[in-house]
């Protein structure tokens, strides 16, 4: 209130600057409690403690078994691996599987389609990555707290169910005997049921819509939290400057959310090849298989279902290596741009 009273007396631009700067400084001075005693611990107990190490050793063993030991399985990619014979009994074939990936025309065509699907899903995800930002900004404009809370509750719920259940919901709503077809039929709009699921049409779009249905509300939570931590002085001074609601959204809220957004964007670029397989596995069928097989699902399909374990390992290995390289690159870019790393 006192801000609004005194506002006309001040030069507007200066007010904005001053208030913001003041806040920033006061934050700098006492905003950081630091890590009390972090250095205090150093002086005590000069010798290293092996007992402490022994206490965590069992957990380190678990971590080694389930994260590092499987890397040895990459050797499979250089053998003609037969599970019954084990690695020792299988024939060593060198880079055969890797060259097969790029030599046989049918294989190349298939991998090309898989890569197209993978990148399409990733780029569609990146193209819609601003939606949670807008969702949060618009929800923030809603004044009635009960309505905001209700919307937040209902829209985050789908994030906490499994893809199996999402598929079950999709099936009961969109199968040929499902709700949508039966409603359309009752209204006389169709005579033959529409095939929403058993089709090769619009597979990418459908998958995008389901992942938005599941993830949009949850994705907005982080931005809603970020909005509450925006310095109120920025809003006060913008109002003093006479900014309207849309100008405040455009020039204050949106830019303030960008650092968070950029970090997530860079991470999603680094994760370009990792779509996960669960969503695509549950939705896949004989009709949509060509367009739904992303890299993770393809590796599963040829490896476990098709029994080409070595080929699948070779492909998975390439994927892992490229992913780590992408992550390192993304991190380096973020470090150069923002001064801090993202991982």
């Amino acid at each position: 209130m006192s801000m609004t009273q005194g506002a006309p007396l001040l030069e507007r631009g200066a007010a904005t600057q001053a208030v913001a700067e003041q806040r920033r400084q006061s934050k700098r001075r006492d905003g950081r409690p630091g890590r009390p005693g972090r250095d205090a611990g150093r002086g005590r107990g000069k010798g290293s403690s092996k007992t402490m190490f022994l206490l965590i050793a069992p957990f380190l063993v678990l971590m080694f078994l389930f994260s590092y030991l499987p890397l040895a399985g990459w050797a499979t990619a250089f053998f003609d691996y037969k599970p019954a014979l084990g690695l020792g009994g299988s024939e060593f074939v060198g880079w055969q599987w890797f060259s097969m990936l790029v030599s046989s025309p049918t294989q190349v065509q298939q991998i090309g389609q898989v890569m197209a699907n993978t990148l399409a899903m990733s780029f569609l995800g990146i193209a819609t990555s601003l939606l949670p930002v807008f969702f949060a900004m618009l929800l923030n404009e809603i004044r009635a707290p009960w309505f905001r809370n209700a919307v937040q509750t209902l829209t985050t719920l789908p994030n906490f169910i499994s893809w199996v259940l999402v598929y079950m919901i999709a099936f009961s709503l969109f199968s040929t005997s499902g709700l949508v077809n039966s409603v359309l039929h009752d209204w006389g709009l169709i005579t033959v049921p529409l095939k929403f699921l058993d089709t090769d049409q619009n597979v990418w779009l459908t998958m995008l819509l389901w992942s938005l249905w599941k993830g949009l509300g949850w994705g907005a939570i982080m931005y809603l939290a970020a909005i509450t931590s925006i310095d109120p002085a920025l809003y006060e001074s913008a109002r003093i400057d006479g900014a309207g609601r849309f100008q405040i959204m455009r020039y204050i809220t949106f830019p303030q959310l960008m650092p968070t957004y950029v970090v997530l964007l860079v991470l999603s670029i680094a994760n370009m090849l990792n779509n996960g397989m669960e969503q695509f596995y549950v939705f896949q069928n004989a009709f949509n298989k060509e367009y739904i097989q992303v890299l993770d699902l393809y590796v599963y399909n040829i490896g476990i279902t098709g029994n080409s374990l070595s080929m699948a390992t070779a492909l998975g290995m390439l994927k892992s290596v490229i992913s780590v390289l992408l992550l390192i690159t993304a991190n380096a870019i973020a470090k150069r741009a923002r001064g801090t790393s993202i991982i």
Partner: protein, 305 residues
């Protein structure tokens, strides 16, 4: 107090904008919530109507016999036990291990502490891939074992970072006082540290429990023994395999003897809906409880190691 403040200044576009904004969110909220409602009303409606997609807005011919009958389906009660067991045991193990490791990694005196910490955190950024993982599980004898649900999930680097950050923000004097009194590391952990970090542990517990309950891929990859199927996996087979489902429906009716009518005899739809509700209800019930931890969980996620 003046009634007009700059904060509520209205521009010409405000009212249409408000209406559209409210309507948009209302629509999306309905889109998110209706499918759950649809499952529930169908699971308690007359089975001949639900099979035709006629139950749309409220239950028709309501009855609860589906829930009794479904439990007699082959494998369903076993799957429920497996899912509950993995959720309870898995969550307990993961939470305790995360708390302990997060605390231990703050102990500067530990031999090669930062090496172990870095090795642990590094596992977040790569994966050997599903085939090498499958081969590893197989050679460890974990395929077709209940422990494949528990053991690989115990060490979670992300949770360890959360706990470590939390412990570092606690006053050091707490620990020092205990050390002066002669308490050992284990004692300090259980007596001093653990009771003081319930908020962060609750957050971890909730997210771990949801992940365990929802997990589907590990059953798909490592389990062929029907006794170890999880509810999620069973739901998947029910949704996708019409033939096995019709068979299941017949069995369910056979088990019940003679008194079956069109409204209560099992159809593929009624089985699917009822199992889906059984799978989703625990999530809906604990949902209000863990909503409090959302923002906490996700903002802590922004803290780096």
């Amino acid at each position: 107090m003046p009634t007009t403040s700059l904060a509520t200044r209205r521009t010409r576009g405000d009212i249409p904008f408000g209406v559209v904004n409210y309507a948009g969110f209302l629509l999306f909220a309905i889109l998110c919530a209706y499918p759950f409602y649809y499952l529930i009303i169908n699971s308690v409606s007359a089975n001949d109507l639900s099979a035709l997609g006629r139950v749309r807005l409220w239950p028709e011919g309501a009855h609860l016999s589906n829930y009794g009958q479904i439990l007699q389906l082959n494998g369903l009660s076993e799957a429920a036990v497996v899912s509950v067991a993995r959720t309870v045991i898995g969550t307990a193990c993961t939470v305790l291990a995360s708390a302990f490791l997060g605390f231990m990694f703050t102990q500067e005196r530990m031999w090669k502490r930062s090496l172990w910490y870095r090795l642990t955190i590094f596992t977040m950024y790569f994966s050997a891939g599903i085939i090498p993982l499958y081969i590893t599980m197989k050679s460890l004898g974990l395929t077709n074992s209940f422990w494949v649900y528990i053991l690989p999930a115990i060490v979670q680097p992300f949770n360890i970072i959360l706990v470590k950050t939390y412990v570092e923000s606690m006053p050091r004097s707490l620990q020092e006082a205990a050390e002066i009194d002669g308490a050992g590391t284990i004692r300090i952990f259980f007596r001093i540290i653990l009771p003081n970090m319930t908020p962060i542990l609750a957050t971890i517990a909730i997210f771990t429990a949801v992940a365990q309950w929802n997990s589907f891929q590990d059953t798909l990859l490592y389990i062929t023994d029907q006794k170890l199927y999880s509810l999620q996996y069973l739901l998947y087979t029910y949704t996708n395999q019409a033939s096995s489902l019709a068979q299941a429906a017949q069995n369910a009716q056979g088990n019940l003897g003679s008194i079956v009518s069109a409204a209560t005899s099992q159809t593929p739809t009624s089985i699917r809906m009822t199992v889906a509700v059984i799978v989703v209800l625990p999530i809906i019930f604990i949902y209000p409880l863990f909503q409090r931890y959302f923002v906490k969980g996700i903002m802590l996620g922004a803290v780096k190691g």
